[in-house]
């Protein structure tokens, strides 16, 4: 019982300190805005530097608009992440099974990450039009790397002695894969997915900037013209909240699936 009490306290503290820090930062920000300190320092009109209270009210007043656009962006992110998961896992498995393929593609996959997504987003819009397709492709492109690399690392993490043991216990290649390598790769794959879901909003926003008529990225861009800074902050808040929710979902799925850790 004592132990549980201790654990309860720690869990509580884990939430308490970030919450306190966040409250302190928000308080400072609010203070800096209401005294006009930031606007003065940057020589700006005060409406360009919204306080947390103004952002919160923008969030509330625009809830319908934000929800509508959040759904558009969320759909792009989810479909892109799923595409990256399917293609990334398939690629990782193929690279794991064929050394030739791994040696041939690994440097290319790494190099592909060096291409800035901002640069290829407009090209993909030219190729795939203004619909949801280029958004899914861009999100998938940005998520593909962490998924593939982590899945591959997981598959290769299997102890060579375990492979010998399986071979000597009459396991076929397929049985070795499903009974040893695939489960061993799961924790790593989930790590890759956590990275993927937090970078997915970046891909979605860039994709929308390259050409779209809805979505949170589009909203941020069009609000620029009207200096609706408070609503832009509110939109960023929604984007972050979506990424946090997704990472929570992945963590939940991981706890359900990887029960042996």
């Amino acid at each position: 019982m004592h132990d549980m009490g201790e654990k309860g306290t720690t869990r509580w503290r884990r939430w308490l300190f970030p919450a306190l820090l966040l409250a302190a930062l928000l308080g400072l920000w609010q203070l800096a805005c209401s005294t006009g300190a930031i606007a003065d320092a940057l020589d700006l009109e005060s409406f360009l530097v919204p306080s947390p209270a103004e952002v919160a009210s923008a969030l509330w007043e625009n809830r319908g608009l934000l929800a509508e656009n959040a759904w558009v962006t969320l759909r792009e992110m989810l479909l892109g992440i799923l595409a990256a998961l399917a293609v990334g896992v398939a690629f990782a498995v193929l690279m794991h099974l064929s050394r030739v393929l791994r040696d041939a593609t690994y440097p290319l996959i790494v190099a592909s990450q060096a291409i800035p997504i901002v640069v290829i987003a407009p090209i993909l819009v030219v190729w795939f039009g203004y619909g949801i397709t280029p958004k899914i492709v861009i999100v998938a492109l940005i998520c593909f790397f962490p998924v593939t690399v982590n899945a591959l690392d997981g598959l290769r993490s299997v102890d060579p002695e375990a492979v010998k043991m399986m071979r000597s216990l009459d396991a076929s290649r397929r049985q070795r894969f499903w009974r040893v390598e695939a489960p061993a790769a799961l924790p790593s794959l989930f790590t890759g997915m956590k990275i993927a879901v937090v970078i997915a909003p970046i891909g979605a926003v860039f994709a929308e900037w390259a050409g779209s008529s809805s979505g949170l990225g589009h909203l941020i861009q069009s609000d620029m013209a009207y200096f609706l800074v408070a609503r832009q902050f509110a939109t960023v808040f929604v984007l972050s909240a979506m990424a946090l929710a997704l990472i929570g979902l992945v963590a939940l799925a991981e706890r359900r699936v990887v029960t042996w850790r």
């Binding site: 002695e161 010998k164 009974r179 489960p183």
Partner: protein, 279 residues
């Protein structure tokens, strides 16, 4: 120590539960002739001549890095020798050896995503048996091997000794005539190790198989084996071969203090010291 009835495999009384018998016990003899092995330029083993009759136990001891584990893998069919032949029941191809030999790696390597019983039944599942059937076949052996009640435990919930028992059961249940054990108890503390040696001796008395046992512990090898081969430092060569005076005696403490045993141990240690100076 001996009051714990779970220690002794046969002490369960009833002999109704049997490990699947080896498919062909006669196929359990192993002959190594002129076996050498090299990794590129690095010669690891040289001119190994060894013979293991069916259902006998051959111990391999030697200084670290002398190629004991490599030799075990050669015997199992997990590797091919660079020179010479390894024959198991007359078969010399690696695939054939792999088919009649079950390998138990140094660490238990139980798969953490499976329960203890699913780990033990792994070979049966690999051989195409359904999950339920395989569990039933393994369940009876859990009783006999002092593991009853631990069927659905996860490997992480088991003690070191328990894990090694499950790992041995996993090896035995494959039903192969030859077992290759790579330092099976190296990771255990001294007391548990002595208990497990006694347990393994009893298991092999009840269910004899041909066993090749790699150990860094001369006493363990001499107690569990019929014959012990002492290997030299790399490239590993057989520098001495001894007969064990009291192989797998029921009372381990009495066996290892027997003057004949002590003399054999001293002889093995001398050979080991001599061999590890290299040639």
């Amino acid at each position: 120590m001996r009051q714990d009835t779970r220690m002794e495999p046969e002490s369960q009384g009833s002999r109704t539960v049997e490990a699947p018998p080896p498919q062909n016990p006669a196929a359990g003899d192993v002959v190594l002739h002129g076996v050498g092995h090299a990794y590129g330029q690095l010669r690891t083993l040289e001119g190994i001549e060894l013979e293991l009759p069916a259902q006998g136990v051959l111990g391999l001891v030697g200084p670290s890095g002398c190629g004991k584990s490599t030799l075990l893998e050669l015997i199992c069919g997990l590797r091919e020798p660079s020179t010479g032949t390894v024959s198991m029941g007359g078969a010399t191809a690696a695939e054939e050896r792999l088919a009649s030999c079950a390998f138990m790696p140094q660490r238990d390597l139980l798969l953490p995503w499976y329960s203890a019983i699913d780990n033990a039944a792994l070979a049966l599942r690999n051989q195409g048996m359904g999950r339920r059937e395989a569990r039933e076949a393994a369940a009876g052996l859990f009783e006999r091997f002092g593991l009853s009640g631990f069927q659905i435990s996860r490997p992480t919930e088991l003690s070191g000794g328990m894990r090694q028992r499950v790992a041995f059961l996993r090896t035995l249940i494959a039903g192969k005539p030859v077992l290759a054990l790579d330092e099976p108890f190296a990771s255990l503390d001294a007391i548990t190790r002595a208990e497990m040696q006694e347990w393994l001796a009893a298991a092999l008395r009840a269910d004899p198989r041909s066993v090749v046992l790699v150990s860094h512990d001369v006493e363990e090898a001499l107690y569990l084996s019929d014959r012990v081969a002492v290997l030299s430092a790399r490239p590993g060569r057989v520098v001495a071969e001894l007969s064990a005076p009291r192989p797998r005696a029921a009372d381990r403490d009495a066996a290892v203090t027997d003057p004949a045993f002590v003399a054999a141990r001293e002889e093995a240690l001398r050979a080991l010291r001599h061999g590890s100076r290299g040639s």
